[in-house]
Symmetry: C2
Subunit: 281 residues, 2 copies
C-alpha cells in the first residue's frame, strides 16, 4: 500500500520457500513479492515448467529483485531439501504418514525457534492444480494447513506463501500487537483547558435559556461534561472546539451579529485567558 523504500532495512533470510514444479511464471513472481513483503529471501524451485529465468516471474515480482536474483533451481525435490534440518509441507487435505499437523501460527513459531538455534528450515508448496504428491509430503517432517472456509478451500500458491511468510514475520515480533507505527501521542490537555471549554459552552447555553430549570441544568451539564471528557482532548483540539463554539455563539444562522448578552456571556473565539475556576461554577 506504500511504496518500496530501498533506504530502509531489508529483512532477508528465514526458511527457504520451495516451489515444486510451479507452472506459471506469474505465480513465481507473486511468491517472490510475498516473500519480500515479509522478510524472506530464499526461494528454491524444483523443475519449473517454463524453465528459469522467467520474464513473467520477474515482472510479477514487482521489484522483489533480491528474491528473484537469489532463486536456486533444482532437478529433484530431494536435492532441494538436502541441506535442510526441518521441512514443512503445506497441504489442504489429510495425508497418510502420521506427521504432526500444525496451524500457520504454530508452524511460524516452530520455524522461528529452529532457525534461531542455527538449523536450516524450509516450507514446501505444491503445483497450482494438484498440490504436492503424497511421496513429496512424505519427505517433510511436519504438515502445515490453513484454517479455510470448508466450501472454498482452494488457495493460490502465492496466497499460501504470503500467509506463511506473514506468520514467519509475526513470529519474530515481540507481541502480535506490535505495529510498524503507533498512534501519534495525544497529550490530554490540563484540566483547566477542558474546564474553560465547559464554561464557554455552558454560558452560551444559559444565555439561550437552554436549561429549563436548575435541576435539569445539573443533569444536562453532567451529561455534557461526560461527553467532552471521554475523548481526552488535547489543548490544540480544545482550542479548535472553542473557536467553533465561539463562532456559533457570535452569529445567528443568517450571519447577523447577535446583540451583546448580559453578565453570563462567555469567552469569545480566540479567548485564551480562561482561569482554572471557570469550569467549576
Amino acid at each position: 500500500m506504500a511504496g518500496t523504500d530501498r533506504q530502509r532495512e531489508n529483512l532477508t533470510g528465514g526458511p527457504a520457500i520451495i516451489l515444486v514444479e510451479p507452472q506459471l511464471g506469474e505465480n513465481i513472481g507473486m511468491v517472490a513479492r510475498a516473500m519480500a513483503n515479509f522478510g524472506l529471501s530464499n526461494l528454491r524451485i524444483v523443475n519449473p515448467r517454463d524453465g528459469w529465468p522467467n520474464d513473467k516471474a520477474v515482472s510479477a515480482a514487482a521489484h522483489a529483485d533480491h528474491v528473484i536474483d537469489g532463486v536456486v533451481v533444482f532437478e529433484t525435490l530431494e536435492a532441494a531439501l538436502a541441506d535442510l534440518n526441518l521441512v514443512y509441507a503445506t497441504t489442504a487435505r489429510p495425508r497418510d504418514g502420521h506427521k504432526p499437523v500444525r496451524g500457520p501460527v504454530e508452524a511460524g513459531a516452530i520455524l522461528r525457534g529452529r532457525e534461531n538455534t542455527g538449523e536450516k528450515t524450509g516450507i514446501l508448496f505444491g503445483r497450482e492444480r494438484i498440490g504436492l504428491r503424497n511421496w513429496e509430503v512424505g519427505l517433510a517432517d511436519e504438515i502445515v494447513t490453513f484454517p479455510v472456509n470448508p466450501a472454498y478451500a482452494s488457495l493460490n500458491i502465492a496466497q499460501a506463501v504470503l500467509l506463511m511468510s506473514y506468520e514467519w514475520m509475526k513470529s519474530g515480533l515481540s507481541s502480535s500487537h506490535e505495529t510498524a507505527f503507533d498512534k501519534p501521542e495525544v497529550e490530554p490537555a490540563p484540566k483547566a483547558d477542558l474546564h474553560g471549554l465547559f464554561a464557554q459552552i455552558e454560558q452560551g447555553l444559559d444565555a439561550r435559556g437552554y436549561f429549563r430549570s436548575e435541576t435539569k441544568r445539573m443533569k444536562a451539564v453532567d451529561n455534557l461534561r461526560a461527553v467532552l471528557t471521554r475523548p481526552g482532548f488535547s489543548t490544540d483540539e480544545i482550542n479548535v472546539l472553542r473557536g467553533l463554539f465561539a463562532s456559533f455563539d457570535r452569529f445567528d444562522p443568517q450571519g447577523k451579529r447577535q446583540p451583546a448578552r448580559s453578565g453570563k456571556s462567555g469567552p469569545r473565539a480566540g479567548a485564551t485567558g480562561v482561569s482554572e475556576g471557570d469550569g467549576h461554577e
Copy 2:
C-alpha cells in the same frame, strides 16, 4: 491447494470489505477469492474505475460466485459506510488523526467481538497505487497496519484483503493451534511389541559379533533402544520394522540365504508370538 467443495459448509457474513476506487477487475476478483477462502462474503465497492459488473473480476474470482454476486457498488465512501458501527482503515504509513493503530491479529479479534454483539463492521482498502486518501482514513474509527519488511512494504490489495480475511477466520477459532484436520491417531504399541523388536535386532547383532565386549554391548543397546523408543511406533509400524530386519537377517546382500545360526538367532519375518520377556534379556 485443494478443490472447491460445494457440499461443505460455506462460511459467510463477517465484516464488509470495502474497496475504494479499485482500478483493476483482476484485483477485485482476487479479493473476492481471498474473502471466500476465509469465510467473508460482503464486498462493497466505491466507484470502481471500470464499472460493474466486470468480466475480469468474475474470471479472477475463480468461482467465488457468492461473493461476486453479492457485490454492492456505492458512489461515495460515506454511503458505503452509512450502516456500519465500526470501521477499520488499512494503511502502511502513519496518518494524522490520533486513531488507534492495531496489528491484524488484534484488529481481527476486535472485529469478531463487535460482530458477535450484533454490530456491523467493515474494513477499508485503498486504490492500487496510492491507497487511501487522508480524508478517507479520517472516516474510519481505527487503523490496521501489517508487520511488513520495511524495505519492501508494498502489499497488493488482494494480499491485504487476504491477510485481514485470514485473521478474521482465525479470530473465530478456539485456538490458533486449531487445524481443519488432525494428525491421524497413532497409538503407540504395547511395550511387549517394542521389546520384541529390541530382542530381534539385538539377537541379530549378537549373531554377527557386532558388540565387541559386554561393556560396549550395554552402552550400544541402551542407545539403540532409545532410538527405537522415541518415535512411539504403533504395532503396525513395529511389524513393518520386524519384517525389514527379518529380511536383512535372512539373506546376504547377494541374495543368498545365510546359514542357520546358533542358539541366539531371533524371530524371523512374520514372527508374532513374541513373549513380553523378550526385550528384557
